[in-house]
Structures are given as C-alpha cells and as structure tokens.
C-alpha cells in the first residue's frame, strides 16, 4: 500500500494518508498551501490531484 508518511522534527515517522485505489499507484508532488491549511498531493495513476 502506498502512503504519505509524515515526520516530526524529532525524526519520528507516521502514516498520514493511504492510497486505497486498487491500482495502488505512487503518491507524487506533495506540498503545502501557502497558509499550511492544505496538503496538496497526487496519485499518479489513474491521475488524481
């Protein structure tokens, strides 16, 4: 299963999102909005932003 994984400043990691699509394509392009209210990310196939 492909996940977005977060990390704390202390280096502790955690699952933040899991791609449930059966194709299980990779996450791409994660980045935060300017006000940090949103995390943008893509699932490469079938292609979701």
């Amino acid at each position: 299963m492909n996940h977005l994984i977060g990390s704390t400043e202390r280096g502790e990691v955690f699952f933040f999102a899991r791609n449930e699509d059966p194709e299980n394509s990779e996450f791409t392009g994660p980045n935060f909005s300017h006000d940090k209210k949103f995390l943008f990310a893509n699932v490469q196939s079938p292609g979701i932003v």
Binding site: I5, G6, T8, R10, G11, E12, V13, F14, F15, F16, A17, R18, N19, E20, D21, P22, T28, G29, P30, N31, F32, S33, H34, K37, F38, F40, N42, V43, Q44, S45, P46, G47, I48, V49
Partner: protein, 297 residues
C-alpha cells in the same frame, strides 16, 4: 566530496578517477551517520497497524505517545484514507476534469509546487505530467506553448480558492517529455524536469521554467540548457548563493548529483535570469563520492 566539472554540459563521458571502481560510492560511514539521525521508530517498521507507532523517547514523562494524528480511517469511497478529522477534495482528475481549452486533464500528475494566489486567497499549483507516450491523456498542444510537436508531457497550472476548491486549469507547458519532478525557485517559478534523454522531434532531457502567474512568460518554451541534458529528476536552488543542485534518475551508470554555479553576470539569480542564460553559462559539475579507503581525484 568533490564535484567535477562537465565541460560539455552532459555527462556522456564521465571522468572516472583512477582506482575508483565506481564513480558513486557513498561511504558506509556516511550512511551509518545518517541512519543514526533517524531516531525513534524509523528502524521499526514491523507490526504497523494503521499508523507507524513511535515512542517519544526523551519527552520527559515516560509515556509512549504515537507521533502523528492517529490511525487512518478507511475511506468509504475507496480513494484516500486519512486520520480522523481530516478530509480531502479532488482538484483534478486525469481524463475527467476539463482544461480551459476544453480537453481533459492530462495523465500522470507528478511533481508539483504551489504558490500563493494573487490577492492571497487560494493557491496556484503547477502540476507536472509525466507523459512519455503511451498514457491515455496527453498534454494538449496549445499553440504558442509547445516545445516539440512530437511529445506530450508538460505542465498544467491549477488555481484553487481558499477552500482548496478547483477554479481553473490550463496548459502552461506542452511538447516536453516525461516531466517527473522539479523544484520551486526562490523567485516563485517552477522548474520542471524531463526524466528522459530521448531524441524525437527535438532533443529532450532538459529543465524548463514555468511561471505560475504570467502565462505570457511561458510562451515559446525554451529549455535551460545550461543545467545540462540528462534524465533530470529534481532540482533545488540555494536561495542565498544561487547555486542549483540537480539529481539524475538513471542506472548503468547510476545517476549523479549535479551542482550548477551561475556565472557572475547572472548573479543574483532572479525572475527571468534562467531564460536569458547562454546554453553553456555557468559551471555544471557532478558529485564524486568514494569510500574512505579510495583515493579521491
């Protein structure tokens, strides 16, 4: 660590220092040191259930509080599971949502950066499309924004409002190939990387710059040849020195880490600097790294 200079802008003839079996060999001591900085659960990936549990060693109270936002809640829609309290919005969907020019959103969204929307309400995303030829939805060739008439990668620019909802999407670069990752510049543009060395209608394997605000600046796309021609993966600009670091996704031989130093005449780098560069401007070098017992060049 040393960088060696690439005189021809392309590492086709990579210098191999005498005695080095491989050009790139990260010292084991370096890897060990890096691993040591990943404290807590980084080496404990077994038995994960919903989230990676982490022990907050050293938090002073002796409790084992997991890092993060709690277990992921299965998504009834079967797309994206998130911790409780989080939700998602679909901004674009390949083949489903529609560009301003009427075509469907292209396939294979990849590297992306966002920029504050003019007026401060919302964001502008520049979204790579890693289309190399077989994907069902190509980046349409919008007149004036096409590098090569025979390839169908590129970027779309997506505006979202302050709720994160889609407002518009349009082609900002077309006719490139296999746009993989890239990097956001300190002057608020996107560098998009062609992860290929194919030669079709034109040569590919370049970095292109995309302006998220000024579509006219994207007209007549021009590769930044000074950054070299190879299977570019990603790029980052040092905001203080203007040095550009670039990675290559390649095997046999393995890809390299590159450093490009702008010429004095182009410093400090700013909006428009890269497009104005001569093809051989600045200095492009590749990192060499060796195990501790191998002499460096």
């Amino acid at each position: 660590m040393n960088f060696f200079e690439l005189r021809d802008g392309r590492p086709a003839r990579r210098p191999r220092p005498a005695g080095a079996a491989r050009l790139i060999h990260i010292p084991v001591t370096t890897l060990t040191a890096r691993r040591a900085t990943l404290r807590g659960p980084a080496n404990n990936w077994e038995g994960l259930d919903g989230h990676i549990t982490g022990d907050n060693h050293g938090d002073g109270n002796g409790t084992d509080k997991p890092a993060g936002y709690g277990p992921l809640v299965p998504d009834p829609a079967g797309l994206l599971s998130l911790p409780a309290g989080f939700s998602y919005t679909i901004i674009a969907r390949s083949g489903v949502t529609t560009l301003e020019t009427g075509e469907p959103t292209p396939s294979d969204p990849d590297g992306t950066a966002s920029f504050v929307r003019k007026g401060g309400s919302g964001d502008v995303l520049v979204n790579n499309h890693e289309v190399s030829g077989t994907e069902p939805f190509r980046v349409p060739h919008v007149a004036g924004f096409v590098y090569d008439e025979t390839t169908f990668g590129g970027t779309t620019t997506i505006e979202v409002d302050n709720k994160g909802n889609r407002v518009r999407e349009y082609v900002s670069l077309a006719g490139t190939s296999t746009n993989c990752a890239g990097g956001k510049t300190p002057w608020d543009t996107w560098l998009t990387c062609e992860e290929t060395e194919e030669i079709t209608g034109k040569r590919h394997g370049y970095v292109f710059e995309v302006d998220p605000y000024d579509q006219e600046a994207n007209r007549d796309p021009k590769p930044i040849k000074a950054l070299g021609r190879y299977a570019h993966e990603s790029v980052v600009v040092d905001p203080r020195r203007g040095t550009v670091y670039l990675t290559e996704d390649a095997t046999a031989p393995n890809g390299l880490l590159y450093r490009w130093t702008p010429p004095g005449s182009a410093q400090p780098l700013r909006h428009g600097s890269l497009r104005a560069l001569a093809d051989d401007a600045g200095t492009l070098e590749a990192l060499t790294a060796f195990s501790g017992d191998t002499a460096t060049a």
